[in-house]
Structures are given as C-alpha cells and as structure tokens.
Symmetry: C2
Subunit: 217 residues, 2 copies
C-alpha cells in the first residue's frame, strides 16, 4: 500500500466532505454546489461563455447550460450577446447575484480552521504538494489551466538565496516563500511553453526541505 494511495484516499475523503458541506448550505443560499461554483467563478473572473464555464467546473456543456438557466431564472445571472461572436453568450452576474455571492463560500469554516491548525511549515509543504499535483494534472490535460504561480510568466522560482522567501514574482516585484504560492492568482498570465517548462523544472527539483535545512554555502 504505497503512500500515493493513501494520499489519493485522503484527497477523496476531503472531496466528499467538501461537496457534502456545499449541499448543506443549499437551504441558506438557495443555490446548489454547481450553481455556487458558476456564480463565484463569474464574479472572480468576469463575464464568460457557457462552454468555458463548463470546462472550469468540469461538467459537460449541457449540464452547465442547465445550471445557468436555473441561475438566470433566479435572477442572479444575465445572458448578454457576445459582440465577438453572435453564437456565443456572455454570462454576467446581476446585482442580486453579486449580493448573494458575498455570503457564498466555496469551502466551509471548519476546513479553514483545520488547515489553520497546521504548523506554518506543514502548510507550506502541503501547499507545495498540492501545487505540484495540480500542475501535473494540468500538464496531462486532465484539468483546465489554472491561474497558479507554477504556470505564470511572472513566476521565478528559487530566485533568491534567502530560504524563507526563495521565489520571486515579477508582477508585484517581490520575493515570497512556499507558503504564499498561489493557485488562483488574479494577475496570472500564462507563460510561453518553453519558459514555463524551465521554471517548473527549477521549482520541482528543489529539495522538499529547502525552507528548513540551511543551504551549504
């Protein structure tokens, strides 16, 4: 029983829990998990097309179409013509949609609490692991491209000597550490393939304990 199985198992259990806790919230918000995801996505990233939304939440286009129809019926979303393409539809959150979204959370407080109870080093290591897994899945085409440091053109891993803040973000022009790696950065811009691959190598080959073990100098 290799540890990768245990890890997959753990992720699975947390996934089950997350989905269930979203369902429990239906009576407060009136939105199903799928609907919440769509609304939050549109608010975070701006107006978008149905196909793109479907890909984002990993369902087929008709399923997304269904959920969008429900949101429109509830007055939380508005369909607008896309000036760039007369077939397409741009989904805009309405004022009511924005209002409701404030009370919407994709993850429950008890999960945040549990994560906060980890030591800082543990959080950093966990985030690093998740980052690598997500980037790998993305690389294999199993999930859509994420707005993560790992694939961003502004990301320069291991750019600094200081083991506390080895990475650098060219966008905000600042050094940062493992614990500040982002998975959903608003300023993300995809790096060209070759540069991305090189930066990723740099990041991935780093020893897991970089932030603890003093570097030989």
């Amino acid at each position: 029983m290799p540890s990768s199985t245990q890890i997959a198992n753990g992720l699975s259990k947390l996934g089950t829990f997350l989905r269930a806790s979203q369902w429990h919230r239906v009576e407060d918000t009136g939105l199903t998990p799928t609907q919440s995801q769509i609304l939050l996505h549109l608010i975070a990233r701006g107006a978008d097309r149905i196909t793109a939304v479907a890909e984002e939440i990993a369902v087929t286009q008709p399923t997304a179409s269904d959920a969008v129809a429900a949101l429109v019926r509830k007055g939380l979303l508005r369909k607008a013509n896309d000036p760039a393409d007369a077939r397409a539809v741009l989904l805009h959150p309405t004022a009511a949609g924005r209002r409701i979204a404030k009370d919407l959370a994709l993850w429950p407080d008890v999960l945040l609490g549990a994560v906060d109870s980890l030591l800082p080093d543990e959080q950093a290591a966990l985030l690093r692991g998740l980052t690598k897994i997500i980037r790998d899945l993305q690389h294999q085409g199993a999930i859509p491209v994420q707005r993560m440091c790992a694939s961003c053109r502004f990301f320069r891993p291991s750019a600094h000597e200081n083991p506390e803040t080895p990475h650098h973000c060219d966008f905000v022009n600042a050094a940062f550490g493992e614990a500040r790696l982002r998975l959903d950065c608003g300023d993300h811009e995809a790096a060209p393939p070759s540069a991305a691959a090189a930066a990723w190598q740099q990041f991935a080959d780093q020893k897991a304990s970089t932030s603890k073990a003093p570097r030989p100098r």
Copy 2:
C-alpha cells in the same frame, strides 16, 4: 490571502476533478460515483446498514436508500435481515458486485501518477498534512471517524529515535515513517478518548521537519 485559503482552494479543485473523473467512468462500469462509493465501502468494510453507509459517504439516509435500491436493481447488492435488529437491513455485495468492484477505482490513474511524481519527502509531508486536517475535521464532528493511524489504539507516534521511522504500530509491531501513515487501515481499532488525545498531541507537536533535520543528541 493566507495560505489556508490557497490550500482550501487546491483541495476544492482536486475534489471537483475527482468527482468529474468518477462520472466519466459511468459508461464503463454503469455505476454513478455514489453507487461506486457504496459498493466499494461495503466490500472494504463488510456488510453494513443503510444509515451507516449514508454517514460514510456523507449523504442523507434517503439518498443512500435510493442509491442502494439502484444497486440492488442491478444485482450488485443484496439486502439481508439484521439478526440484531428487525428494523435494520444489512447490505451484502453479491458475487457480481465483487466482480465489478475489481474494476472500480475511487481515484483515477492520472491522479496516482501525479502523486507519484512527488519526491518521497514531499509525499510524506503531504500525507501528514492531510492526516492532520482529516483528524481535525473528525474531531469537530464534521466527518465520520476514519480508520486512520491518528485515532488508532495501536498507534504510538514518535516512539523511536530513528528519524526515518519514528512511529510504531503495536498491531503489526513494527516501526514506520510519515510516508506510511494510513488513512484507511483494515486493522484500525479506535483508541479510548484520553489515550487518543495524548497520542495525538505527541504526533501533532512534532516538528514538521522531523524526518529531515538531524535531532540534537
């Protein structure tokens, strides 16, 4: 934007992906994610009641009842009387159910591949983080008790000097390391509350880097 948010975000994304990939498998197996979960649970843990199954997969009892009915209809499950309680029902997998379950996986190969691409230290750290989160959720009553080392009466954390294999399992009477922590051990037996709390403290307070940094001696 604290890292706990990024971590929750990452877990969320992986959860979305996991659920979607289970749906993609429907055409092979003929089973929905919920049905797969139930069948696999019963095979792994033996016959069980509907209420228990519902709790395990984090749905309400009527939902579990629905899914079980579908499985019975498909000939993969059999309902039997519970000799201990005439109201209750014991669910047994049929031979066909066991056959089908062999081809059923709760997690897709590409996820296992992604996890395997982590360095051993990274895997251990990730597993440790997941373990702590799951145990915390369990402690808060947000998820049912898991068959994990962290709550097992045979688990003796940090029992050994060797930083590679600090923990000890009294059941198999062997030392093991972070990477071998289990989340679904078949031999799990719940520890009495006080002992469990003590063992947990021992485990939780360990420095994250135990397996790397040489201990002062």
